[in-house]
């Protein structure tokens, strides 16, 4: 807007030629509106601050973009690093699991139990929970020397533990591998007793033949 343009007419006032051309139409003489000097429009602002503003916006935007990119890249690197760590840990886990499987597999257990002089039991004895009577066939796998552990007459859960502790006494280190060698027997009533009644420690090396002949 420039000063050369006609002034805005105040509402309800007629100013100008049209009004002046028909003076006779004026029913009542009205006072002539007072003309007020309007302040001139502000001169255009200097360009320098605007350029600075643009510059700030530009630099700020660039910095923000750079920061976002850096963060994204950083996340990318973190993901990469964590993925590598995950792989390493998975490798370790799988390696350990394989080792556990190799050591707990039936073939390995049998070999280790044999090395400890243990024999697989050939029979299982069962306990009647009412009356605590041992039933079923109880016989040693290998006769001499007769280091038979006492037959437990306690009930289900304590039987396995008792069997384990008695075989500890008679077979030393054998406990762990024997209890692992018959993992399922712990679930049944008294096959743990079988462990106690039929496990013997001996130094002989004829167990393979003895087993086959049973």
């Amino acid at each position: 807007m420039s000063v050369a343009e006609p002034l805005r007419r105040p509402f309800g006032l007629r100013v100008g030629t049209a009004a002046a051309a028909k003076p006779a139409a004026r029913p009542v003489a009205r006072p002539r509106p007072r003309l007020v000097l309007v302040a001139p429009a502000r001169p255009a602002a200097g360009r320098i601050p605007f350029v600075i503003l643009l510059g700030v916006v530009l630099v700020g935007g660039l910095l923000l973009l750079l920061m976002l990119h850096t963060l994204a890249a950083q996340d990318g690197f973190t993901i990469n690093k964590l993925q590598q760590r995950l792989t390493t840990l998975t490798d370790t886990e799988q390696g350990l699991e394989q080792q556990v499987q190799a050591d707990s597999g039936p073939a390995a257990l049998r070999a280790r139990a044999s090395a400890l002089g243990m024999l697989p039991s050939t029979v299982a004895a069962y306990h009647k929970l009412h009356g605590g009577r041992a039933i079923g066939i109880q016989q040693p796998v290998y006769s001499p020397p007769p280091v038979t552990a006492p037959v437990s007459t306690t009930t289900t859960t304590s039987t396995s533990a008792h069997a384990a502790s008695t075989s500890t006494k008679s077979a030393g280190k054998a406990t762990k591998s024997k209890s692992a060698a018959a993992p399922k027997s712990a679930t049944t009533a008294s096959s743990g007793t079988t462990t106690a009644t039929t496990t013997h420690h001996r130094s002989g090396r004829h167990h393979h033949g003895a087993t086959a002949k049973q």
């Binding site: 990119h69 994204a72 890249a73 996340d75 990318g76 690197f77 993901i79 990469n80 792989t87 390493t88 998975t90 490798d91 799988q94 390696g95 394989q98 499987q101 190799a102 597999g105 039936p106 073939a107 049998r110 697989p120 039991s121 050939t122 029979v123 299982a124 069962y126 039933i135 079923g136 066939i137 016989q139 018959a182 993992p183 399922k184 027997s185 679930t187 049944t188 009533a189 096959s191 079988t194 086959a212 049973q214």
Partner: protein, 551 residues
Amino acid sequence: MVLSVIAGRLIQLQGIDRSAYAASATDQRLHTLTLPATRGTITDRDGTPLAETVNADDVVADPSEITDVAPVATALAPVLNIGSAQLTAALSVTGRYALLAHAVQPAVADRVDALKLPGITTVATSKRIYPDGSLASNVLGFVNSVGQGRGGIELGYQKQLAGHNGIEHFQVSANGVPIPDGENVIRAAVPGSDIRLTIQRDIQYEAQRAIAAQVSATHADSGTVIMMNPTNGQIVAMAIAPGFDPNNLARANPNDIGNPAVTDVYEPGSVNKIITMSAALQDKLDTPTSPFVIPPVLVDAGSAFHDAETHGTEHLTLTGILAYSSNIGAIEVSKQLGQQRMYHFLRAYGFGSVTGVGLPGEQQGLLPPVSKWSGTTLPTVSFGQGIGVTAIQVASVYATIANGGVRVTPTIVAGMTGPNGRYTPAPPPVRHRVISAHVAKDLRDMMEAVISEQGTAPEAAIPGYRIAGKTGTADRPNGHGGYAGYTATFVGMAPADNPKLVCEVVLQNPRSGHFGGQVAAPVFKTVTSFALRTLGIAPTFTKPPKAKLRW
């Protein structure tokens, strides 16, 4: 003038050839990667892995970057456990790629990386391993070099185990390094389902150990043990000797990598007499004490039939015929039955069709229709010659009798765990009644006499338990229309009055001893007594019935 040339070129590049250049730029930047789906694990019934896929690394070389081969080979040899001469040869090829070791353990790959050898890198891959080696290998099968099932469960359930590979697009910078921000997974990989078998690992091991020992002791060609739970048809153990180690397929004998328990068709011999007996009882033609006169030789349809041991004229009951395994007695029973009824029962017990156990390559055996039977077919079939069966079919017959006369389709897959982690049990097996519960009980009582001192298999007896079973000593076809060697079988169940386990032992062509009661029954005893202990199956503490074998 110059400006217009430049402008023309600009228009050509940006306007006309634009899409082609943009595409080639994208191609340079964008790489597509297949995300391999992890193959499912196969476990035993308790969840112990029998086959699983683990991380591994290939060790590869870029021979063009290696100037001095000898020190590299010397450094790698102890780590890879490969001879340095072999490595030197592998590194001396021209070109930019040489595979030095396939799928080594990650720990080994780490040690290779730690050496920081020029031109040597490790590339991540995966590997199928069988933690227990040859354990259940004939059931599990094996995979080929690209990890696809090529035998056993690995082949039969290839689709479920394999899963679906995924696809990933990612952008790389000019020097080939992936731009971290640019990853874009189009489709994630869906891992394969885990398969849970009905096999029990410890019993499987014991069965394999026992049958392998007996195969070598009797100098047999091969041996099979099948143990089943008759009540639900689940196979507890399926052992084959000689077996193989799927971890080291290159060293396996190609003849040993199948599963003869379902593919090997043989003549069953006397174990088939139980079908003859059950038909006679079910059709109410006989009772266990029905009297029979057994002549030393029986001439029927122009052929002379003998028993395994020469004897005079014997007066045996039906139970006696089974206990002594008299061929002539079985022929007499079959003549009461007739061809049609005999055929009906053979079919009803599952002969002549696959059992549906779900193992690849299962055979249906050889059971010609009655229209093709000759005059000698009925008497021959009555004692188990002249028809072809598989070991799993015979096991299923005895499981039917153990299960009160109801045949349950044998199953070896207990269920599957899908990619969503949810376990779905296998659909319940098909059941149908073959004989009445009463007849099944009579047959079990009769089979207890087989285990007695008078019977053919006292060696199958397990102290404290009631055992029922039947021996078989069949002539083995030599493939040229004649016979050579024997098939020795024992199939039994325990406890006889409430069977929880059925165990079948088959030895093909044993040369040191050949009677089923002599070579197969001891294996039955070893494996079954182990399984009874392992599964905690208590004796029933009942008295076996007094068997009347003669009259």
